[in-house]
């Protein structure tokens, strides 16, 4: 059977049209005006400490869950956590599969294996999680992002894997 490939979904166009039809306030998409300054890779991956930031609304049992209204807090998930202790909560994506297997949005088992294999030197002690779909770019820019950057610096993280949902 011939398999037809369709182009990637244009989410900005489709979500803008959907929100407009539903009478929602338009989402403030982030269009970067210029290329960002890139950090230089200072050492091989195999000698690097890897951090992770994921936006799927993931928390560990015992932590306070996220709210659904412009929540710009984050949670620190121990990098040796078990999948069974992790939860997902979010208003903007279908949680069914994430709640069956958190690894579809937070690949903790693959990351632990990658450390064992030596692709990276080590995992950071904690991974960080937050919500996505935050309406206020100002809050992300002035509160959430600086807090996460500071944690990554404090934890002497060399490179960060970002996992948006």
């Amino acid at each position: 059977m011939e398999t037809i490939r369709k182009p990637p979904i244009n989410y900005i166009e489709r979500i803008t049209a959907t929100y407009s039809a539903l009478g929602y306030e338009p989402y403030e998409w982030y269009f970067a005006k210029e290329d960002p300054k890139l950090a230089a890779i200072s050492k091989p991956l195999s000698e690097s400490r890897l951090g992770v930031i994921a936006t799927g609304g993931i928390y560990k049992i015992g932590q306070v869950a996220f709210t659904y209204k412009d929540d710009v807090t984050y949670r620190a998930i121990p990098s040796d956590a078990s999948s069974d202790d992790l939860r997902a909560t979010h208003f903007a994506y279908d949680l069914t599969d994430a709640r069956e297997d958190i690894n579809v949005v937070f690949p903790i088992e693959a990351l632990q294996e990658i450390q064992n294999e030596g692709l990276v030197k080590e995992l950071a002690p904690s991974f960080f999680t937050c919500m996505g779909g935050i309406y206020s770019q100002r809050l992300v820019n002035e509160e959430l992002a600086p807090a996460l950057v500071q944690r990554c610096l404090d934890d002497e993280i060399d490179v960060v894997l970002l996992i948006p949902v």
Binding site: S20, Y30, L45, I61, R75, R87, D97, N103, L162, I163
Partner: protein, 142 residues
């Protein structure tokens, strides 16, 4: 996530992203990213498929060593035999052009209280914080 990536890079920490929304990642000029053409909610694969997650994560990480500038690389994995799943995602604005009155609101309400996955999680969070053993939460002022 583009905003967070840019601040990390500015602070001297290189980043690599995995994206399932090519246009959003491209608009944000995300520094280094791999694109996985899967439905939202599956940024690192499918349920109970460890080797898929491992492949997605390891291929994405090696972008850090394989690129020097802005990069958006397509991963080879496919969600299904056909790409028909794309027709039903936010169909307003899509190729099928549906009527405005047929647009469905499937977002959850923007509750201002914490939204737990299960009742048991609420009790666990109360226990953690009453016992002042909260070494695992952070970034939140309790």
């Amino acid at each position: 996530m583009g905003l967070i990536a840019h601040q990390l890079e500015y602070a001297g920490i290189p980043t690599v992203s995995i994206s399932t929304a090519r246009d959003i990642t491209s608009a944000a000029r995300t520094p280094r990213a791999s694109f996985l053409d899967f439905p939202l909610g599956h940024t690192t694969g499918k349920t109970n498929d460890f080797s898929l997650a491992h492949s997605i994560v390891s291929q994405s990480l090696t972008l850090l060593e394989r690129t020097t500038g802005i990069a958006l690389e397509d991963l080879p994995h496919r969600w299904s035999e056909t790409d028909n799943w794309k027709d039903d995602v936010f169909p307003a604005g899509g190729p099928r052009k549906i009527d405005e009155q047929d647009v469905i609101d499937d977002r959850l309400e923007r509750w201002e209280e914490p939204q737990y996955q299960s009742e048991g999680d609420i009790e666990a969070a109360i226990r953690t914080h009453q016992g002042k053993e909260c070494l695992i939460c952070s970034g939140v002022d309790y």
